[in-house]
Structures are given as structure tokens and as C-alpha cells.
Amino acid sequence: MGDDMDIGGAASSAVESFLKETSLYLAPDPEIMENHGLEPRTAFEDQCIAKEKDPVRLEIVRERILAGVNESFEMLENMGAAPGAKWGDCVSAVYTASGDLSLASSGGVVIFCNLVQYPIKFVNKYWANEPTVGIKEGDVFIVNDARYGQAHNTDQSMMMPVFHEGRIVAWAGATVHEGENGAIEPGGMPSLAEQIWDEGLKMSPFKVAENYKLRRDLVTFLQNSVREPKLQYADMKVKMYVCRRIETRIHEAIAEYGVEAVVAALRMNLEDTDAEVRRRLSEWPDGTTRHSWWTDGTLRENVQIKINLELTKKGDELTFDYRGSSPEFTNRSNNSLDITVKGMLAQLFLTFIWPDIPRNQGVLAPMKFIFDNPSVLKPAFGTPNAQSMMTVFTAWSAGQVCAMKFLYSNPHKYTRVLAPWFNMINTFLFGGLTQHGEMVGNVCADINGMGGGALADRDGEHGCAPIFATMSDIGEQEFIEEEMPFIQIVSKKMMKDNQGFGRQRGGMGYQMVLAMRDSPAFGFMLTAMGAKFPNIPGLFGGYGCPTYPLARVSGVDVFDILLKDPGSFRYSIEELMNERPFKDGKYTTHPMTLGYTLAKRGELYMISQGTGGGFGDPLDRDPKDVIRDLDEDLISHDVAWRIYRVVYSRETLLIDELATEEARNAARRARIAASKPFGEFCKEWVKDKPSGKVPYYGSWADKSLVHAGSPDAVHPAGKVNPPVIMTHPLQAKIDRLEAELATCREGKG
């Protein structure tokens, strides 16, 4: 503001106060949402830390509170009604009075609680002194709108202030991937959402309980807004009592150690983490690593979407620069909020790189983030984001690759260098009436069965854990079948040749072959990328994952077939699709982006979980490990030769070591002969823009310019005008058919 506009301090304050009091709408506050760092110490925290400095005593208090949080997590997991709660897609945590995440439960999903800092800070800022709301002991607040701070709208968090002698000394929080939220499709992750209002419940942080009692009028309203009203109520009670258990444990710790020790422990936990992360970053080499990756769709159409990362480490700071990534899709749900990217990256460091660091948001304090605004990783306020996983998981994997390239040379490591973990939600979502007459909408636990990346000296783990929750479960299929009207006829069986090849191979993904029965109305949907462009690469010469389709057999009832002619059934996707054992069946493949589709009894829906990336050159793989994979039916003879060049007897699997060595040397010579020097290769390979065969979004060579669908639609990054608005896929189909029809008519005429 220039001098001529200076209205003086008192007047300025009056204007600020007037605007505050007359705000018509309290949107997410940029001051809160843009700051992933630590809040400044409060005067009370200063007093507490001045009194309680002994790190040993603070560690005892910290462990005491953590034990309470872990106890509350057990409650959440065991009592939670949502399928997600049962297999660990939940978390509980303690926050400072200012709202910083200080202690997350040892199990569960760190990103969930990392993002709850934002709604707590919103409540502190806007509701504490709001006469119609206020914050009192026994109040509980709820939130699910990701724009105020959640990973996505399918999660619901509840937050309870913890008081001591009239003062808020901490916050307790609990989050569950609830699933159903009343969106345009069941299950809470609608790929059909074209507007934010298609995404279901939009709970900004509000008070839902007073004096430790849920307000039934509000609960009833929420129940009426979702397809699973009983689940909504049950899990609100569970989350509230989880918060209450944390509150109890904090009160007990205060009684034993004093409030100063508790407040100092929560604050110093953050500051110590920040300091330790800076120390560890100092051990990394200074420089920049770069990695670009592409997702292959919006869930409504196949298009190529770039995620671009430059990771720069200097001194004790790390900067994630995602500029040059795709523009936002203003009427698609595959955009990810920047807070979601940051929260996922906190998970990367706290579980994959420094798993020994206390699980709190101090880990991100030394890190900076740069995005084009708006872009697919920082969409505008009105842009849908319900399927943020479609881009945030790729952004996460880009971070993992870039971090590993800094990490390998470090003489002191806290965990091992790892090839990329599989990163996509290759699982079924479902919805409809169960065999018990209940209306449901949710997701299968197979979301948690992602294959682990290979290590320098060890193969990856099969069907291990998702990138967002290393300590979760894939559930018991039989329990799910007791509640849901579908059967996984082939379940948890590894898919042959679905391997991230390498000197050490990735952990593999298993097949899911399922069919609905026993329901008058039940359907499935799929929301996964990677049918045309793989989801992850390998590391240091290893290969990534293959692509993953949906395979279907319709026009059959396999339950009848299993009854009358069980011998005709085949127990793998490969055999079912290639042998086509059912003569009346219609066999088709599709991208894994199925919109909600009502299923017919006995029709087959088939997908596979993904493999983690391979590590190192496959020609260096120990031949014995190749034969072990072959013996375990994980790979075919074709892969044993074509990828690994192992010579052996097909009858006895006995390795001919000399012939293998000769074959591998010959393969290396052939590789050299088929290759060119880099400069020569680039002259032929590099083009100045995308081919135009595929709709392309994002930068090409220059990250300051982004394409918006075609080789010649180029805009300055963050200034795409007109914005990207996709045509409805059905309209696109009609347009294509009408054009064909017109051509035919012209031909006839």
C-alpha cells in the first residue's frame, strides 16, 4: 500500500475488525493452509519449557502420552465400523494447543493426522471467540472437507480440545477412512464428480458434540446425507471416545508429571524433530535430483498427465519444486490439494526414509514446496479433488525416486535405499444392497496390498502395504464375504510375470477375481491409473511395473458353472482370458477406471495388484533367485530367459552356470551394440513437443510452459486460459459417432 493510501494503524485495525465481523463466508484460510511449518511457541509453552528442560524427563512424558495414543488407536481399529478402520486406514494423535501434530499413533496413516493440524487451527482462529460457537471442555469438532485439511473427503476426523484448569493444553484427534460420504457414486471416492458438489459431504470444521455428547440433530442430518447412516453414527461415537481416551491419558500424565512437563514434551517433540531432520539432511549431498512421471487418465478419459519434480537439497533444507506439472482439470476429480502432497511426503520420510523419527509434523519444517498455482497439484478452491490419489500418489513416487538418489551415497543411513513402492489403488469399490438388506458403499481392503519396492540386497515384499500406511492390513476375505454379497473366487494369488524386474525384484501383486451374488442391486467401480503408462519405475537400472487392465467376463454365471462343471473354471486371469473356458462368455479388457456399474450375478470382474519396482540390472540377478521365482510360479520360462538370461533344465530346474554367464555376457554385448552415445541418441529421439497421438497435459522441455491437451495448446504454467474443461465422455462418444454417421451419409449421398 502506498503512502497516499495509509489510513493509520487504528483505522486499519477498525477496517480489519469490520471485515472480520461481516465476513459472509469463512472459506479455508490461506494463512493456515499455506503454512505446513510449526506455529511459534506460545508464552505458556515458553514458561513450561523454562520449567521443564530435562530431556530424559520429557522423553518419559512423551512415551507415556504415546502409550495412551497407541491405546486409543487400538480402540479405533477394533471398534471402528468402517472397513477402513478394520484394516488400519485410520489414525489417532495428539496436537499442541496451537494445533501442531505432535504425536501420532505408531500404527495408522500419518498423512491423515498431519492434515488435521489445519482444521484445529481453523477452529482455534475462528470458533474460539465466536459467540455462537466457542470452545469448551467436552466439545468435539468434526471435518471432512479436504480443503480445510483432510487427505480427501472420504475421511472424517474428529477433534477434541484437552483442557487443564480452564486452558486448552492440547488437542486429541481421530481420523478414519470412512468411505461412504453421499457423493455422486458410492464409496466416497467419486470419479464421476465434475463439481465439488458432486463429491458428497462438505463438512467444514464444526462442533458436533457438547459435554462429551453427540448432538443427535446434527448426527441425523449427517446420516441423511450418506448411504450408510448407521456407519456414520457408529464411527462418530467411536472417534469421540477415542479422543476422550487420549484426553484421559493426558490428564493422567498431567496429574503425575505436571502440566508444564506435558506441554513442554509436546512442544519439544516438534522442535527436536525439526532439529534432527535438519541434521540428517545435512548429511545428504547438496544438489538437485529430477524425476518426471506420467499418469494416464482422469478416471473419465485416457490422457497423459505430467507430474514434474525437481528436488533440491542445500545445507539443511530441502525444496520440492513441482512446477511444470499438469494444469488442473476443472471438471474432473483427479486434482490433488497441495496440503495432500505435503502430507503424503511427510509419510514418505516418517515411514520409508527415517522410520525412527517421532511421527509428527516437525519432519516437514525444514522443507519447502513450490507449485504452479493453479495446477493439478494445487487446484483452485472450486475444483474437485475427491480422487486426489490419482495425482498425489505419482507426486509421492517422484519424491521417493528423487530422495533415493540423494540417499544412496550417505555413509550413515536410518533405513535402506528402496526402489519405488507400487502406488496405485488397484482395488474394487462397491455399493448397493447387501445380502442382509443393508445399503453400503465402500472399498475393498486390497487397497492395502501394494507390492513393496526392491532393496539393494533384498527382493521387495509381495502384497505388502500401501504407500500411505506401512502398518496396515489387507483384512480377512471371509469376514468381508459374510457382510458383502460378492465372492473373491481367486484371492491373494500372485500374478505370474507381474514383476518389477531387477537385480533384486519388486514385491509382486496378487490377483482379484470376483463375482457378485445374493443381491438385487449391487455394483462395482474402479478408480486406478496405469492401463497405458505404468505407475512406477525401477531404480538404478531396475524396471518398473507393467500396466494393469480390468478384465471382465460377462454373459455368464460362474456360480452355476462352479456347481455344474467346476472343472471348467480357471484360477488365474491369464487362463480365464486367454483360454476363454466359458463358451457363452463375453471377454473384454478395459482401463481400471470403471464408473459405478451394477453387476449381474456370476459375472467376473478381474484385476491385479501392482508390483514394486526392481533394483539394479536384471542381468545381475542371482540365477538361483530366478529359479526360485520360477519354482514358485512367480515368473514364466519366457521371463527367466528374456529378462534374466538364465540357462537351466526345464525338467530339473538345474542351472547351467557357465552357459548362463555366457548368455548374459552376450546380452550385454548385444545391448552395447544396439545403443548409441547420448548426444547422438538425443538428436534422433528428442522432439520439441508431444507427438499429438495422445492428449498431453503438462510441461515438455521447459517447465515454465505447459500443454493443455495438444502439442500446440501451450500456456505459461499456472496461467492456462481457457482453463482445462473436459468434454463429458458420453458427449465425446456421441460427437464421434455423429461425425462417423455424417461421413457415411455423405458417402451414400
Partner: protein, 131 residues
């Protein structure tokens, strides 16, 4: 002193050169892109990720679509071992994926002991069985 930058690449801090970790072949200036000293080839992705479903019958077979994706492989010109594999849309410029501040690296390693092999990191130790 040699620093193990990846499982296939080292940097000799004295000569400031990238080298092949497998055969010691000189690859290039450590201040420049190591890819310039490697041999490169482009592959149809189905050569690596072969169709699992019959490509004559189906559009989606578990093999990446070559209009969307190509695999670019970098190997040592001397021993032929793969140092890096990139998945790129056809014609997309390869990444300058590792660009280091060599002066800072030298200063950092001046305070460290030389290593004769890369440090893998702590091994997993299963917690004791207790119940």
C-alpha cells in the same frame, strides 16, 4: 576418494569424474550429466513388459502402450551393465536426474572416512517373540 552415488555410478572426488561402479570405466565430468558418457537405446515397452493377455484378442494386455510410453536404457559403454532406465513418452527429453554441487561434496567428504563399498543401511531385525 570414491563416493558411491548409485549402485552403478561412483564419483572420484580427486579427478571429479563419474565412473562405472562395476568396471571402473571413466564416464565423464562429475559436474556434468553422467548420461552423456553412457550408451543409450530406446525400447518398445512390450519387449520388457510383455503382454500377459493375448494381444490379438485384447486392447489392454498388461503391456504399456508404445504411443504413450517408451523405455530408454542407459548402459556402461565398457561392461554393458544398466545404470539407469527411464520411462518416457515418445520424444520427451531425458532427465538430468542427478546434478550435484561437487565442491560441497568434496567439503562434505573431506570430513569422512573413505569407503570401500556402499553402506546399505541398518538391517531389519525382527523383534523378539513375546507372548
Amino acid at each position: 576418494m570414491k563416493v558411491f552415488m548409485t549402485s552403478m555410478l561412483t564419483i572420484d572426488l580427486d579427478s571429479e569424474r563419474w565412473e562405472c561402479a562395476s568396471c571402473g570405466h571413466d564416464i565423464g565430468d562429475a559436474r556434468d550429466n553422467y548420461k552423456k558418457g553412457l550408451l543409450v537405446r530406446e525400447r518398445d515397452p512390450s519387449e520388457v513388459h510383455a503382454p500377459i493377455l493375448d494381444a490379438a484378442k485384447y486392447d489392454f494386455t498388461f503391456a504399456p502402450d508404445p504411443d504413450w510410453c517408451r523405455i530408454v536404457e542407459y548402459c556402461c559403454p565398457n561392461c554393458g551393465r544398466l545404470a539407469e532406465v527411464e520411462y518416457l513418452p515418445p520424444g520427451h527429453p531425458p532427465a538430468h536426474d542427478i546434478e550435484l554441487d561437487i565442491d560441497a561434496l568434496k567439503a562434505q567428504w573431506a570430513k569422512r572416512e573413505p569407503l570401500d563399498k556402499p553402506v546399505l543401511g541398518p538391517d531389519f531385525v525382527a523383534p523378539p517373540h513375546s507372548h
